[in-house]
């Protein structure tokens, strides 16, 4: 197990072998942002799944996970919304729900943990789900595509599948808070010293950059609360990455992507110009596995990643 977590820190189901992982047919929860402003993430994930020979069955009637914000007004609603999503996965015979967003991962796992650990919560959720004939039986595990890549595909297999190695491109991993913290909910790897993204970057021929900002917050959730704060959080993190020699950033979270890609232009006044292009996790992996770059929506980023890819002789 590629983790430095002590056994008691590990969440029970994070490394679970699900029925879905055996049949290679997974429930897929893309989340709101991958269906709205980051469609290139959704498309890249589907193209990557195709390349990996797995089937991502989109839960098309699923709702928002609650995005960490609905908890601010009501302690139950996120749990019940997600129970509805899990009931849909169960109805399709799927026991594994794969996400492509750190915030979805953390909040869906938190909801599932509460449902599985408390009869009161499960009963309350099923009483409401019963009003429209649905029921959650507690068989679902929620995992991020990042974890699927390492646990189900494996780094060795991934290395074998690479047809377009990154030529040592210096990539700074940016995890996004909710895929690592709190450890009691995620617990797939150490939240203080995670290395799954570094392992992926190395497996596809890049050079992972270590920097203190990799596990810090992008500020997305407070982008509208007070001017300049989220911008500055992005600037600070990207400054650290740039100073360590990063040429690009890799993130498993579209919220982080929106913040990192969107705010570097404005953070330059305080933190200096960084201009680091940010890749979605499935975008960069799919590229290395041979998906044609023009299908990956690289032209949708505010900081165009193609400049550094040309410089690194990855694309013409």
């Amino acid at each position: 197990m590629s983790t430095t977590l002590l056994p008691e820190q590990r969440a029970g189901d994070a490394h679970k072998q699900t029925k879905s992982s055996q049949s290679k047919r997974y429930g897929f929860f893309p989340g709101c942002v991958a269906k709205e402003s980051c469609k290139e993430l959704f498309n890249s994930a589907m193209l990557l799944a195709d390349r990996l020979g797995i089937e991502l069955v989109e839960l098309t009637a699923a709702s928002c996970c609650g995005a960490s914000v609905v908890n601010d007004t009501n302690r139950d609603v996120a749990r019940v919304l997600n129970a509805r999503t899990y009931a849909q996965a169960e109805a399709l015979g799927l026991d594994d729900v794969i996400t492509i967003c750190s915030t979805c991962t953390g909040h869906m796992r938190a909801a599932n943990k509460e449902l599985l650990e408390s009869d009161v919560h499960m009963t309350q959720a099923n009483a409401i789900l019963g009003k429209f004939g649905a029921r959650y039986n507690g068989t679902v595990t929620v995992r991020h595509l990042l974890w699927l890549l390492i646990d189900d595909i494996g780094l060795d297999r991934l290395r074998e599948m690479v047809v377009r190695p990154l030529n040592g491109l210096k990539v700074a991993p940016f995890y996004g808070c909710h895929i690592i913290r709190p450890e009691s909910v995620n617990g797939w790897e150490s939240s203080r010293r995670p290395h799954s993204l570094e392992d992926i970057i190395a497996a596809i021929g890049g050079e992972p950059i270590d920097y203190a900002g990799k596990t810090r917050c992008c500020g997305f959730h407070i982008q509208l609360e007070k001017e300049g704060v989220a911008t500055s959080m992005v600037g600070q993190n990207m400054r650290m990455a740039k100073d360590r020699g990063a040429q690009a950033v890799l993130t498993p979270c579209p919220l982080c992507h929106l913040a990192l890609d969107g705010y570097q232009a404005d953070s330059a006044a305080r933190w200096g110009r960084t201009d680091l292009p940010t890749f979605h996790l499935p975008q960069l992996v799919a590229f290395a596995l041979g998906v044609p770059p023009e299908k990956l929506g690289l032209n949708k980023h505010l900081i165009d990643p193609r400049t550094v890819m040309v410089a690194q002789e990855l694309i013409a």
């Binding site: 009637a61 007004t73 500055s232």
Partner: protein
């Protein structure tokens, strides 16, 4: 026994212009704590190393410091969980504070935010006018005991990424301690306290869970959410962006099943707040130029009525 090398941040504000580092090697059992390793270093090798400590048992909250880049109590951190393969441990003062001498920092901003809370019980009448003792039921007390475990070590404050860019933010410990009085049935200043902590940027918490590393399991991250719920329940400062943001999220999920990114911006800033909207317009235009704007009218998910049933059954506020 193991040879452990402490790589220590050294600085004396009275004489130094820039900090330097010194390396001190000690022979200690590898399961010893970082604090005990520092004590040994100070006693046997270099008496000039300064750090705060008292109880050595995670009760006094004095010895929080940065250990290999992440903050925690030195007395609660065994060396073998943090040292590298050569037995080296880097120790630095807590971030988000001005260093005073070596690992000792100026704690004033942390205490200032704490004292702003009026961190003492304010009952409706004076004790001398109160005929009986002020009783609290076990259920009501249960809500407070975890927070009362806070030892004010400032680990959460040092780890907070919002504090690192905006020192006006109250920080996790102060908000958690505000909760301790807001939820105390004996206190009479609930709404004043909620208003005060809202002014100190309660809603600027970034939901990052850095404060979930609290060495005393106060979990300020969860207490911050509790205070936000109290603010919404009591309808305190509802026209601030934080509550507007939260309620707009609820409204768009209830209407469409999805988080509507366009509506979220309009609802939080205010669709008639032209100045506010102009400030986010440049980013919007840059996104539009890349074909990256979210849809103006979001199509509801299939069976969105089920989502509305959930919201209504739980009486989730949407405005």
């Amino acid at each position: 026994m193991a040879q452990i090398t402490l790589d220590v941040f050294r600085f004396d504000e009275a004489v130094d212009v820039v900090p330097h580092r010194s390396q001190v090697t000690v022979d200690v059992p590898e399961t010893t704590t970082v604090l005990d390793a520092l004590e040994t270093a100070k006693a046997e090798v270099d008496g000039s190393i300064s750090f705060r400590r008292s109880c050595r048992s995670a009760i006094c909250g004095s010895c929080s410091m940065n250990i290999n880049g992440t903050t925690g109590l030195a007395c609660k951190t065994p060396c073998n969980t943090v040292m590298d393969k050569d037995g080296v441990i880097q120790v630095d003062p807590m971030p988000n504070f001005q260093p005073m001498k070596d690992l000792v920092v100026h704690m004033d901003p942390f205490w200032d935010k704490y004292t702003r809370l009026k961190p003492y019980l304010q009952p409706a009448d004076r004790d001398e006018d109160h005929a009986t003792e002020r009783r609290v039921s076990p259920e009501d007390m249960k809500k407070l005991v975890d927070v009362a475990n806070c030892v004010m070590c400032a680990t959460c404050y040092a780890l907070c990424p919002v504090v690192s860019v905006d020192p006006a933010f109250a920080g996790p410990a102060a908000i958690a301690y505000a909760y301790r009085f807001i939820e105390d049935v004996r206190d009479s200043k609930r709404d004043e306290r909620i208003a005060q902590i809202s002014e100190d940027y309660l809603w600027l918490c970034a939901h990052c869970y850095a404060c979930s590393y609290c060495p005393k399991h106060v979990d300020p991250n969860d207490r911050i959410v509790d205070v936000k719920r109290a603010a919404i329940a009591d309808r305190v400062m509802m026209n601030e962006r934080g509550p507007r943001h939260a309620l707009t999220v609820n409204r768009t999920i209830r209407q469409t099943g999805m988080l509507d990114e366009t509506e979220l911006i309009l609802g939080t800033i205010g669709r008639f707040n032209v100045r506010g909207l102009l400030k986010v317009a440049p980013l919007g235009l840059r996104m539009a130029a890349k074909g990256k704007l979210p849809p103006i009218f979001l199509k509801p998910i299939p069976k969105v009525d089920e989502v509305r049933t959930i919201f209504d059954a739980l009486e989730v506020p949407v405005a």
